[in-house]
């Protein structure tokens, strides 16, 4: 699964740390999601969706082989 979290974060002009604080996770978790090392849970994805004011599938997309 790929994501455009970094882009969405840049649009809101937030640092990884600021975004992490807003959704109640650590900065390392945001970094892991951005670098595709960790796939977040539905709860976390929905929190991000609420913050970005966009549907989840706009910033999380499945790769061709998935």
């Amino acid at each position: 699964m790929k994501n455009t979290l970094k882009v969405e974060r840049a649009i809101l002009n937030l640092t990884q740390d600021e975004l992490a604080q807003k959704i109640g996770v650590s900065r390392q978790t945001i970094n892991s999601i951005e670098t595709n090392r960790y796939v977040p849970s539905t709860v976390l994805a929905l929190k991000l969706s609420k913050l970005f004011n966009k549907p989840v599938n706009q910033f999380f997309t499945l790769e061709d082989n998935e």
């Binding site: 109640g24 996770v25 650590s26 390392q28 978790t29 970094n31 892991s32 960790y38 849970s41």
Partner: protein
């Protein structure tokens, strides 16, 4: 009605057990306890008459120290940490089983041959297996945390 209440009570306790974790500060307390007891165990080797009871208490204390490190929370305990912790327990469990059925008896056997003991020992000690599993869990958890920095 009674059965339903028992079921609810059981479910509540199970949920509580699933979420059980110590405060972050217990990690340091556990590490301190472990170091102190490890030094005490080493010091005990230099005493001519090794008191068996004291040795047993120290060894169990070492396990308690490791368990405290293992079950205490991180500073920020989020879903990724929970996921990494689950993975580390899974790895430690598999390694623990392999260690207890294959590696430990083999090591004991080789040591017995080297020491030229008359009766060869294939047994596994509970303490050694638990110690190995806890060390592996802590090691893999820290390693995975470091990798995901």
């Amino acid at each position: 009605m009674i059965v339903k209440n028992i079921w609810e009570w059981d479910k509540r306790n199970f949920e509580r057990l699933k979420k059980f974790q110590l405060h972050h500060r217990f990690k340091k307390i556990g590490a301190l306890l472990f170091i102190i007891l490890l030094l005490a165990l080493i010091a005990l080797k230099f005493i001519e008459s090794e008191p068996a009871l004291l040795k047993s208490i120290i060894k169990n204390g070492l396990l308690v120290g490791l368990l405290m490190i293992s079950v205490s929370k991180e500073k920020i305990e989020d879903e990724r940490i929970v996921h990494l912790r689950q993975q580390s327990y899974q790895i430690a469990f598999v390694l623990g089983v392999v260690y207890s059925i294959a590696l430990l008896p083999l090591v004991n056997y080789v040591v017995d041959i080297i020491l030229q003991k008359e009766v060869l020992d294939f047994s596994t000690s509970t303490w050694e297996v638990l110690f190995f599993m806890l060390v592996m869990q802590i090691y893999f958890f820290r390693m995975m945390l470091k990798k995901c920095q």
